[in-house]
Symmetry: C2
Subunit: 453 residues, 2 copies
Amino acid sequence: MANSWVNSAERIGADLHLELVEAGGRRAALIAALREAVREGRLAPGTRLPPYRSLAADLGVARNTVADAYAELVAEGWLSARQGSGTRVADRAEPLRQAERTPRKTPPRARGPRHDLRQGTPDASAFPRAAWLSSYRRALQQAPNEAFGPGDPAGRIELREALTEYLARARGVRTEPDRIVICSGFAHGLRLLFGGRTVPLPLDEQGARMDRLARERAVLLTPAHQFPTGGPLHAERRAAVVDWARARGGVVVEDDYDGEFRYDRRPVGAVQGLDPERVILLGSISKSLSPAVRLGWMVLPGRYVDGVLAAKGEREAWASVLDQLSLADFIVSGSYDRHVRRMRLRYRSRRDRLVAMLAAHAPHIEVTGVAAGLHAVLRLPPGTERSAVKAADRRGVALDGLAEFRHPAADVAAQDGLVVGYATPSEHAYGAALEALCEVLPPEADKPPRASR
Amino acid sequence: MANSWVNSAERIGADLHLELVEAGGRRAALIAALREAVREGRLAPGTRLPPYRSLAADLGVARNTVADAYAELVAEGWLSARQGSGTRVADRAEPLRQAERTPRKTPPRARGPRHDLRQGTPDASAFPRAAWLSSYRRALQQAPNEAFGPGDPAGRIELREALTEYLARARGVRTEPDRIVICSGFAHGLRLLFGGRTVPLPLDEQGARMDRLARERAVLLTPAHQFPTGGPLHAERRAAVVDWARARGGVVVEDDYDGEFRYDRRPVGAVQGLDPERVILLGSISKSLSPAVRLGWMVLPGRYVDGVLAAKGEREAWASVLDQLSLADFIVSGSYDRHVRRMRLRYRSRRDRLVAMLAAHAPHIEVTGVAAGLHAVLRLPPGTERSAVKAADRRGVALDGLAEFRHPAADVAAQDGLVVGYATPSEHAYGAALEALCEVLPPEADKPPRASR
């Protein structure tokens, strides 16, 4: 950097050697040098600084340069000037170097595992950089000036219009732009809607059991692909939950997290289409495009719009306007459809490889939940989940057991299983991840363990 | 759109005319047509649908196409199928058109005023589109694949490193990348830090009165340019607030909202540099670049980092990773410095025009707080603020009175004044805004009102 120069002074005065890099920067350089000397403790609190004239002569700079620098540092609180006692290092400018170096724990995901089969994220290497940049460029060039000013907490109208059309076409959602609020993703949308206590809803092979709903005020469902077990919600259950909401005045929150990734047939439309006044649909591009863009949407019954906007208000984070405009272009230009199609093929092929690999090497393990989505559930013999997760960890395979997603108050018997995300690895890393996975699966109950490779 | 075709049926059966646009899309078109017919009430709940064979013959499609479409709509809950009673329109699929059309109130800022002199936003027409796009392109091209995966709630390391260097150079901030948490702006950062009650701190001509601090746990200051009155915090006060924090174990929150825009001399460094363990600095690009990008930063004492990251966690909105990488490039490439310099010149010239206009046309109005920042305070005769704000509103001039920013519990006498933001209008609209402003200012107390133009 331009201002990086070395202050090698050990004492003030003649010893405060300053390498003044540029004519215009002498004052700035002197300020920085003095600040650094105070900061590092070379100039101790209370130390009296040399008069302007002496330091100016020592350094070969103008007297005014020194006077200006002192005045600046007095204004900033580093130095103090009192009539008759000259300029001194202020008392409060203590050296703080130890404290400044407190190391912070590295975040859990900073270093990835060798084989990443965690569910919930798309293949980060498949981000469509060129197509996205094209949309971004068009969005930036076409944006009206007001787009760069203070915005609307509902989000940009361009994106809300594009989503209205897209969600109707792709997901059977019935809404209009004024009922959509842009947020940063599913979890952000959920936080804007609710606090409070949650209770588990039991599942069976048709999905969540609506007959167990009682006086709850809201129910959260993943109808397209039950999370984590992976089945679609049965048609009668879809109808039943809307009936419940109507009879009880409740609200259904539909987490449409995997709606675009269905492999055996066309995607099932959103439950929201059945009753837009009783279903809130939350969606995002976190799995279809990337979690890094931080964009999601809330499709709201009309009566909730004002409340959500008030909760979002001024103090809540808003999504980047430029990204919103880019996503609008990305959808309208057809790039989003193309990307989803491409990824659907890729993920289906990965799913097929997973199923084939297990059929060949672990035929006793049942695979479920693979008709849609980005993860599968491997059913394990009773009592083997915990040791399988541990074995995977030792082998460098990151994945979760079903227990990880179990509600603490769930009252049905736990089943053993592994949740295997097949979208996360890059294309070239997937084969090795599958091989490692096969090695850590428990053997058939009545057979001895296989020898490790 | 490809699927946009007209369903002109008035009754089902032979009357359900379908224009099937493309061979491959007949099934999808039939599903959409039936869904629309149910949605619009043309197919009433309970209505029995024609057998596959009849409808297929009427429409000239394959029998399987109809069967598939029915099955899909049963799966989605629009239709219900019972053994022996055929396929019927489900009871819950009521028409909802009235409710869907509830108009939402337009947000307060959706339509701008004729002359916008509100404080707090930069000139939206000055967004550096070309330079920003260059940074975005480089960021997108150079980003590692993992950037498109799940992120670190602290924000991208590239941006935290760029900010560490920039804030040290431009604002005298002492920190390191591990102590910076990226957020969406000042208000978002503040919400992550605090809830709770606030009390006002009195002001005098040297800024906030630190001697009035007592058992409070935190104090929020705008040292570079007091908000809204506009003076810098006096050097002794800067020292005093750090002393208070040390003595009482308190924390100083420094809102560095105008730090880069100082016109009469170089910017005063941040108070944070005096004691990085007791001062939290919050900054953003909302005023220096644009509020639309939604990026800010929190420079934290080491002991707060983990708590802030935990509060941010998974449910909090994160800033767009691509924007973070772009801003990092924008800073490192020097574009940010160039933009701030350019805007500083532009805003200084606007300030000068405001001051000159008032000197010529309203010499009795004192202008204060103009050494820095993007707004000025026009001191008004006692009791005239409210009527001046109203007159401005009638004339199409949006601005705020000082009362707007007064803490409800403030115990010092209110002063009358107008807060005039001179950054918001575009360059060509500024002159007219100034003229309109002059017309709504109250006359000198002892003179009759001027005739309106």
